[in-house]
Structures are given as structure tokens and as C-alpha cells.
């Protein structure tokens, strides 16, 4: 068993990316151990048990097994479903209840992958953990661990990694950051990995049918909880229709409002305290400023003065220039040079300097 470069626990989903990550680390001389995180059960989250090929299904676990067998690495299934339920799923539900739109993958990274999973790795005597994220981890001039965007621009996943602490980053390997997806697939084919041609999965893993409203209803119904219907109003307070519960709406949403109106209407505010959904025309979705909270800085210890950054407010958003100003209680205000559409509380915000992720947080409001 060669371990010149240390022992590494590779988080394997059953997809092509983590398979190739394991392969590459093995080739680089690490002692690789594959591990699949069992995060949820169909019994608990509902959905269609017969849809396969996804993370946390038996088929995915079997794919991991075959890949690890092919690269001669031990493989284990680690059950982290209690941690996942307590942090990610419960947070997902409570955020929607609070009128916010959560990023469960971000929570999972912070609270499960780079916490419970890292602990499991330590317990197994591993020096590192590794994932198949398209991002680059490196140290800056101040010896702080930062994340750079993966070189495959369309695949960059730095946006979901802002929450990682320095100690966690120091022990993390992401071997795919300097590769393109095409190269990854080619490598998987070259080594005949059975996951080489597996399709992408980009939806929320525990909402297998991609219908988060169905998930919320069922999940809460099992606990005897319901959602209170209420009015959909325009910005002046005029009632235009009825909503099924504010949790089922998200800022910028146009479809499913059930209102006949001469011009398209969009959700512009979710007012939980008055149980109202406020809608308006497209123009009302644009705002110049926002606030963010729960910040984690990678490039520096803390923000002491205003700085310029490119700010990304959702997964498929092109970062926009802004001035970031420190506020009390680990919060910042963000002044965009140009107004931004549908700034959504609960969503992740990331601050970049070019390709370098400086840090991130959670959007708390638009103003």
C-alpha cells in the first residue's frame, strides 16, 4: 500500500467527477479510500423511489463500488443521514417557511461534507478529504487558503464552497479544478470507468422529482404541519389573488401565481409576518443594494474597510461589480454599480476578485 503522499478519503457520489477525482489521486500516489455519504432515504423525503442513477440510491453506491474496485481502493458507505436531516433538510424547510430561498448544497458543504465527513476522515486516520468539485484550492501571499474558480468556466463550483473554514481547506484536495469536464470524461473513458457517460445531476439531491413544493407539503404534512393560504397583493396592497402558503413562492417567480393580468407579474417580496406575497412588474425586481450576513472570509481574516468586488448572487448569475461595506455583527452591505434583478434573501452571495473567491455569505435583504 503506497501512502507517500498521505491517506485521503474521497467523497464519491457515483458520478463521473468524483470517480475521476479518486482515480487521479490514486495515480498521484495517495492512499485513496472511497466513501459514499448516505444522506437521505426515500422513506423520509418522498419522491419516486424508482428513479435511479442519483446520489444516495443503491445504483449510485454500486457505481462507486465498481470504480473503487477498478482503482483498487477500499470503499465504504458512511451514513450521515442524521446530520443531513438536522442541518440541511430542516434548514431547507425552515428557510422557506421564513420567506427565504435556501441553497441546500451550500449548507451540506458547510455542515456535512466539511464537518461530519471531515470528522469521519480524521477518525479513519486520513490526512485529507477530496471531492470532485471544479475549483482550485491554494494559499495566497498571506498564507490564507483561498478558492479559485475552476478553469472550466461553465463548470466552476466555487460559488457553493464559500463556507469552508481555513482548517478545512488546508485538508481538502480538489483534483479537477484545473481540468475541463471534457477532459474528465475523456479520462474516465480511457480508464473505462463505468461512470464515464453518466448524465449530470444538478437538482437538489433529496428532491428527486425537482418539485420542492411537493417536498415541502409532504415533509411538513408528515409532521402534522400545514401552510396558511393568504392574499397575493400588488405593491399598493390591492388583493389580486390567493397564495397557498408563502413558502411555495420565491422572488422573481412568474409562473403559478394564478392571476390573470394584462402584463406579466413577478413575486417581488415575501412578507411572512403579514402572510402576503407581493407581486409587481419586472422593473420592480431590480435593486441597487443588498445586505448579507453569516459571512465567511477566505482571502482575509475580516473586512475592515470598504472594498470593490465582483458579486455573484445566485448560481447562474454573472458576477456584478459592487462596493462592499462592512457592518456590525458579521454583516456587509453591497452597493451594485448597476441594479440587479431578483436579489433573493436566503441565497448565497459570493465576492470575487477576478477568479479568486474572497468569501461569501447569505443574502438577508434587498433595499
Amino acid at each position: 500500500m503506497s501512502a507517500q503522499r498521505g491517506r485521503v478519503l474521497v467523497a464519491m457520489s457515483g458520478g463521473v467527477d468524483s470517480s475521476v477525482a479518486a482515480l487521479l489521486l490514486k495515480e498521484q500516489g495517495y492512499e485513496v479510500i472511497g466513501a459514499h455519504m448516505k444522506l437521505w432515504d426515500f422513506v423520509d423525503v418522498g419522491g419516486d423511489i424508482h428513479r435511479d442513477g442519483r446520489c444516495c440510491t443503491i445504483d449510485s453506491i454500486t457505481d462507486c463500488r465498481f470504480v473503487c474496485d477498478a482503482i483498487d481502493a477500499p470503499f465504504y458507505v458512511l451514513n450521515l443521514s442524521a446530520e443531513f436531516k438536522e442541518t440541511v433538510i430542516d434548514n431547507f424547510v425552515s428557510e422557506y417557511r421564513d420567506g427565504r430561498t435556501p441553497n441546500p448544497c451550500v449548507r451540506c458543504n458547510i455542515d456535512v461534507k466539511w464537518d461530519a465527513f471531515l470528522d469521519k476522515a480524521t477518525a479513519l486516520g486520513c490526512d485529507y478529504i477530496a471531492t470532485g468539485h471544479y475549483a482550485i484550492i491554494e494559499q495566497n501571499d498571506e498564507h490564507r487558503w483561498v478558492i479559485r474558480k475552476g478553469i472550466d468556466g461553465t463548470r466552476d463550483q466555487s460559488y457553493v464552497l464559500w463556507g469552508l473554514r481555513q482548517e478545512a481547506l488546508a485538508r481538502t484536495l480538489m483534483p479537477l479544478g484545473s481540468m475541463t469536464k471534457k477532459e474528465v470524461r475523456a479520462l474516465a473513458e480511457k480508464y473505462d470507468l463505468r461512470t464515464a457517460a453518466k448524465p449530470e445531476s444538478r437538482e437538489i439531491c433529496f428532491v428527486a422529482d425537482n418539485d420542492y413544493r411537493r417536498f415541502l407539503s409532504e415533509f411538513e404534512a408528515k409532521r402534522g404541519r400545514t401552510f396558511a393560504p393568504g392574499p397575493i397583493v400588488d405593491p399598493t396592497g390591492r388583493v389580486l389573488g390567493q397564495h397557498r402558503g408563502t413558502a411555495f413562492y420565491t422572488i422573481g417567480q412568474r409562473k403559478g401565481l394564478g392571476i390573470a393580468h394584462p402584463t406579466p407579474l413577478y413575486v417581488q417580496e415575501i412578507d411572512v409576518s403579514r402572510n402576503r406575497v407581493v407581486v409587481g412588474c419586472n422593473d420592480t425586481l431590480y435593486h441597487n443594494t443588498a445586505e448579507a450576513e453569516n459571512l465567511n472570509w477566505l482571502a482575509f481574516r475580516a473586512v475592515e474597510a470598504d472594498f470593490e468586488a465582483e458579486v455573484k448572487i445566485r448560481y447562474l448569475h454573472t458576477p456584478a461589480p459592487a462596493i462592499v461595506r462592512p457592518l456590525a455583527d458579521n454583516r456587509v452591505s453591497i452597493d451594485f454599480s448597476d441594479p440587479q434583478r431578483a436579489i433573493t434573501p436566503g441565497q448565497t452571495v459570493c465576492f470575487y476578485d477576478g477568479n479568486t473567491l474572497l468569501g461569501g455569505g447569505i443574502l438577508s435583504s434587498q433595499t
Binding site: I110, T122, A123
Partner: protein
């Protein structure tokens, strides 16, 4: 790296003698035991010879031995096949609280879906059940009592004969899951007064996929599957001739070395318990010292979860388990330890080490050498070192 197998309660390596006995029936003697021609006759003779041998080794009549796919199927037939047909007159059944899930889940299913009344026979801190308690639970409407002979996780051996007697006093049938004991401890179905007994080949160096259900002559059991006359209609399906032949060979072999094995392995296991307790502070032994399936040692190290110990030992080439292989991967502590009243945190640390015919003193020493530093390191590890909350 030399691998060391210490998980013999999960399964055992197939003995070379068993493989040799089976090979002709995986090759030239491939016939279907139900066929009329010479190929079929050859297979049928082999099947019935195996049945006779197996029957004689547990003191049953060959007509009382039904081949199945293994312990789980035997347990299911025993529980469903008796209780449902008696449900009108006797709607009550009793099963041990620490039974294998192959008994527990059918019993719970009968309660939920068929409205039968179910009582669980409690176990004490060492997994023993008392005959007195059983007597209190028994009713005139009890159709079946099912208590396993030796527990697969902790190895506790119950006084089955006394329980069978108690059941019979009230006119109930008595079934025992003897998957862990047939071939390891002396079994006499007549002396123990059993009505039904499940047992299997792969726990005694035989092949997987073959087991048997002993059904005392005169006891009525309905089949779970329909569609053939094999096993007198109680277990239809093409006979697994090679499996049956292997099963008989394994049992023959076991009968020869059973007593010596038990003594030798028992000494090794007792030594293991003593040494682990001496070398690792705060070791909790869940297995009883006496009346134990000799090869089984179940223990916890306080403050240490079982999973990382098992995985680290695996990385060192040593195979042990946390409990039943049928439930591994679950985050809930073992239902056996829960039934024994073991505190949840301690139960989550449970490790099952099960020795076997090939286990030598040096193997136990190797485990004793590797284990203490792993436990020490895990105890020293402070959790929650990463991520942001």
C-alpha cells in the same frame, strides 16, 4: 497484506471438503431432481441422501427436513406458515425481543396487517430470557413461540428445551432459529422437543443459498410460495441439489470437529475478552461468559463509535463487524443491544468479533496488538474541527 477474517457469525469460508462434495453436482450430475430420467434420478438420490444425513445429525426424521434458501426463508415459513392457519382459534404469538429480523419483521407484519396479537419476550442485560416470563406471556390463544437458540450478535445461548416445554404446556407450537448453533453446539430436536427449527449451511463452512426448516411430523405448515411439488409442496422450486449436498458435507464435518472446535475457540474468545478488558480501559463486554456461542465476543469501548474502529481494522486487513451483517449501514444501534437495555451511546460502539475454525492464537494476538492504539486515537480525537456553524 495478510487478511484476517474474524466475522464468522456473518458467514464462514466454504470448507474444501464441502466444495469437493458439491463439484460433481455443478458439473456432470446436473440433473433436475424432479425429472424421471437417469439424470433426474441421480440428482434425486443425492438430494435425499443429503436430507437423510442432515436429519440424522440433528436427530430428526428425513421426512421432517425441508430444504429452503437459508435462514431467513426458514424463519419466514415457520412464522407465517403456522400462525396464519391457526389465527382464528389462536390469534396470539410470542417472539423473542432480540430475534433476528427474519423472525421479528414477519411477527410485526402479522400484527399490523393481519391483526394478530404479538408479545415480545424480553431479554436481560446478557440477552437471556426467563422461562417464568414466558409462562406469564403464554395464553391459551398462543399459536407460536419463537425464540432463537443462540443470538447472532452477542452469542447468548437460551434454554430452548425449557421454553419449548412451557409453550407445549399451553398447546402452543415452538420454533427456534438455530442458524448460529446447528453444527456448533449439539442439537437434538427430539430431546429439545422442538416443533420447528431453522438452520443454514453457510454459517458452518457450507455454501450460501441453502438452508433447512425442521418441521416435526404432524405439525402443519402452509407454504409461502406456490407452484411445485418439491419439498412436499411446502417449498416449491427446483431443488438446489449441489447446495443440499454441500450442506450435508458441512454438517458432517461439523459433527466431527464440533466439540473440539467449541472448546478451543471458546478458550481463545475468553482470552480475547480478558485481554481486551485488561489492555483497553472502559471496555464493556455485552456477551455472557457462560452459556455463550463460544466464538462470539460482543463489546463496546465507552466513548468510541463502532464504525471507525471497524473501518480502520479493515484498512489493516482485519474483518470484524458491528453486529448483524443484515443491518449494517444503519445508524440506529442494534435492536438486540437495545432490548438488553444497553445505553444508546454504548450500543453505537458495539463491535462483534466472531472467531472460527481457522482462528489461531496468533490471530487473536494480532487483533490485540492493533486494537488498543486505534481506540486510544479515536478517544483522543476531538470532534467538530471543521466547517463553520
Amino acid at each position: 497484506m495478510d487478511r484476517l477474517y474474524l466475522d464468522h457469525n456473518a458467514t464462514t469460508p466454504t470448507a474444501p471438503e464441502v466444495v469437493d462434495a458439491m463439484l460433481p453436482y455443478l458439473g456432470t450430475n446436473f440433473g433436475n431432481a424432479g425429472s424421471v430420467h437417469s439424470f433426474g434420478r441421480d440428482a434425486k438420490v443425492a438430494l435425499e441422501t443429503a436430507r437423510e444425513e442432515i436429519a440424522s445429525l440433528v436427530n430428526a426424521d428425513p421426512s421432517e427436513i425441508y430444504f429452503t434458501s437459508g435462514g431467513t426463508e426458514s424463519d419466514n415459513i415457520a412464522v407465517y406458515g403456522t400462525t396464519l392457519r391457526l389465527a382464528k382459534r389462536r390469534p396470539h404469538l410470542i417472539v423473542g425481543a432480540a430475534e433476528h429480523h427474519a423472525v421479528l419483521e414477519p411477527a410485526e407484519h402479522l400484527q399490523k396487517k393481519h391483526g394478530l396479537e404479538l408479545d415480545l419476550l424480553p431479554v436481560d442485560r446478557q440477552c437471556f430470557s426467563s422461562v417464568e416470563t414466558l409462562r406469564r406471556l403464554l395464553r391459551d390463544s398462543t399459536s407460536l413461540v419463537s425464540v432463537m437458540h443462540a443470538n447472532n450478535e452477542v452469542g447468548t445461548v437460551q434454554d430452548i428445551a425449557a421454553m419449548a416445554q412451557a409453550a407445549h404446556e399451553r398447546g402452543a407450537l415452538f420454533h427456534t432459529d438455530a442458524v448460529q448453533t446447528v453444527g456448533k453446539l449439539p442439537i437434538d430436536v427430539k430431546a429439545m422437543d422442538l416443533d420447528l427449527m431453522s438452520f443454514t449451511a453457510h454459517k458452518i463452512y457450507g455454501p450460501k443459498g441453502i438452508g433447512a426448516l425442521f418441521v416435526r411430523s404432524g405439525v402443519k405448515v402452509d407454504p409461502l410460495m406456490l407452484g411445485g411439488a418439491q419439498e412436499k409442496g411446502r417449498r416449491p422450486g427446483t431443488s438446489n441439489v449441489a447446495g443440499a449436498v454441500g450442506f450435508a458435507a458441512a454438517l458432517r464435518l461439523a459433527a466431527r470437529c464440533c466439540a473440539d472446535d467449541a472448546r478451543r475457540i471458546g478458550r481463545l474468545a475468553n482470552n480475547l475478552m480478558d485481554q481486551v478488558t485488561a489492555r483497553i480501559p472502559e471496555t464493556v463486554i455485552h456477551s455472557p461468559r457462560d452459556h455463550r456461542l463460544p466464538q462470539t465476543v460482543n463489546l463496546s469501548f465507552v466513548g468510541v463509535e463502532g464504525e471507525p474502529v471497524i473501518l480502520q481494522l479493515d484498512l489493516e486487513g482485519i474483518a470484524i463487524s458491528s453486529g448483524s451483517a443484515c443491518t449494517s449501514g444503519a445508524t440506529e444501534p442494534s435492536h438486540v443491544l437495545a432490548a438488553m437495555g444497553v445505553e444508546r451511546a454504548v450500543a453505537l460502539g458495539a463491535l462483534r468479533i466472531s472467531l472460527g475454525r481457522s482462528t489461531a492464537e496468533a490471530d487473536v494476538d494480532r487483533l490485540l496488538h492493533v486494537l488498543p492504539p486505534i481506540v486510544e486515537r479515536l478517544r483522543a480525537m476531538t470532534s467538530g474541527t471543521a466547517g463553520v456553524r
